[in-house]
Symmetry: D2
Subunit: 147 residues, 4 copies
C-alpha cells in the first residue's frame, strides 16, 4: 500500500472570497477530504468509525502554510499521509497542489485525538490499528491532549 493517498477536488465558487482565491479557512475542508479518502483507500469509511465503533477523530491541532493561491475552478490534488500515530492520537500531513501544473499551493498538518461520543479520549479500536501503524515523529515528546 502506498504510504501516501492522493485525491482530487475542484474549487467551488462558494470556496472563494472577494480576493478571488480560496478563503484561508476553507483549505481545512480540503484537508478533511484528504484524510477521509486516505481512510477510504484503506477500506475504512470514517462514518462507520463514528457509528459502529463510537470512535471520533477529534481535531486537537491544525495548521496550514499558504504558498500560492488556489483559485475558482482549479482542480486540486490533495496528498495525505500519516506522519505520526500513537495509541490515542494521529497526525496527518497534507500537500495541496494545482492538479494541472503540479505547483505546490499549500501544506499543512492536523493532529487528532480518538474520542468516544461524549468526547472522552479512548484508544483506537484494534481493527483500525493496521490502518495507522504506530509511528513516532523524531523529536516528538508527548501525546497531545485536549486540555
Amino acid at each position: 500500500m502506498n504510504e501516501c493517498s492522493e485525491t482530487v477536488a475542484r474549487v467551488r465558487y462558494k470556496d472563494t472570497d472577494q480576493m478571488g482565491m480560496v478563503y484561508y479557512g476553507n483549505y481545512f475542508t480540503f484537508f478533511e477530504i484528504g484524510r477521509v479518502e486516505y481512510m477510504r483507500e484503506r477500506g475504512i469509511a470514517y462514518k462507520n468509525m463514528e457509528r459502529e465503533d463510537d470512535s471520533y477523530i477529534v481535531v486537537a491541532e491544525a495548521s496550514c502554510r499558504y504558498l500560492r493561491p488556489a483559485r475558482y475552478d482549479d482542480l486540486l490534488r490533495i496528498r495525505t499521509r500519516v506522519s505520526e500515530s500513537r495509541r490515542r492520537s494521529i497526525r496527518f500531513a497534507y500537500e495541496i497542489l494545482r492538479h494541472d501544473s503540479g505547483e505546490m499551493l499549500a501544506t499543512g498538518e492536523t493532529v487528532h485525538i480518538i474520542c468516544d461520543r461524549e468526547g472522552r479520549p479512548k484508544s483506537l479500536p484494534e481493527k483500525y490499528r493496521q490502518l495507522f501503524p504506530l509511528k513516532s515523529q523524531v523529536g516528538a515528546k508527548r501525546e497531545p491532549s485536549l486540555r
Copy 2:
C-alpha cells in the same frame, strides 16, 4: 410584542465570493440568525427546544430573492416575522436591509416542520404555542410535508 423581530449582523470576509458580494447560499445563514433571534426575543433559546423538548425545526422549503448585493463588512438588518403557523409547521418571512442606508437587499421565506430527534413530524409542544399563534396564510391549502 412587536410582530417583527430585528437583529443586526455584519458580513464577514468568509461570506463573500469572488464576485465581491455575499455568496447566494449564505443569505440563508442570515435568515437562520433572524429566526433564532426572533425566538430569543420571545424568551426561547432554540437550542433548548432541541435539547429539552426534543423538538427540531427542520427546514422543508427555503427561498430568497436577491435585490441588491450585500458586500463585505456591511452591517445587515434582518427583519423576521412568522407569516404562517400551524400545528406542525411554521413559515418565516425575512427582509435583509443594509443597516445604514435602509436599502432592501433581499427577501425570503422558510417553511419548517416540527420533528423529533429521529426526524418524525410531531406537534409543537404546548409551551411554544404562544410563541407561534396559529395563523393561516390566505390561499394556503394544506400543511407542507417532508415527502
Copy 3:
C-alpha cells in the same frame, strides 16, 4: 445533447450541521456544482465567461424544497437542466438524489441575470446563445430584474 446534465458530489463533514444532516443553505452549493457542470458538459468553463467575456451569471432568485435529509458521506447525484432562457435571464431547475438508492432528496430552482463586471444587466453574448436556447416557461409573464 442530453437536455439534462448529471454530476456526482460527496457530502463533506463541513457540509453537515448538528442535526446530522446537510445544512439547508449548503444545498445551494450543490446547485452551483450542478449548473457549472451543466455548462462544462456543453464546452463552457464558467470562469472564462467571467474573465474573457465580462459576463457574470448573477443570482436573482433561489429556492429549494427539502424532501429527505442528505447525510455525511452520501454521494449525491445532481441533475440540472435549463427550464427557461431569455435574452437576459436564465432559469435552472435541479434535482438532488442519493446516488446509491436513487431517492429524491431535494429539488430547486435558481434564476439568473446576465451582468457585466459592474453589475449592470446585459444580454448574453452570442457565442453562449446555443448553450441556452431561448425557451419560455408556460405561464411566465416577464423577465425578472434585480430590483
Copy 4:
C-alpha cells in the same frame, strides 16, 4: 490603547457539524472577526485598506489549537493581539473563550503578508504603521514569504 482587542460573536447553526460542535475550519472565521475588529478599534476599516490603499492582508500561515469544543449558540469572546510586526508581515495571536464561563476554547495564530491587488508583496503604507508598531518575536529569524 489596550494591546488586546476583544469582541464577541455567537456560534451559528451553520458553524456546527454533526459532532455537535463548531467545525474545526470555522475557528479561522472567528480569528478573521477578531483581527478585523482589532483594526476597527484602532480606527481602520480593513475594507478601505483594500479599496483605497491597495493593501491586502494575505494569509501566509494559520494555526489553531482546540482545547474544548465551542457549541451551537455559545457566545464566544475573541481576544486578538499583534504578536509580531515587520515591514511586510504581521503576526496575530488569538484566544477564543466561552463568554459566560471564561473557559479557554482555542488559541491560534495567523501570519500575513502585505500585498497589492496583484498579489505582489509590498510594504505596509505609512498611515497604518502606527497601528502595527514594529515588534519582533524573540527567536524569530526571518520574514515569512509567500513561496
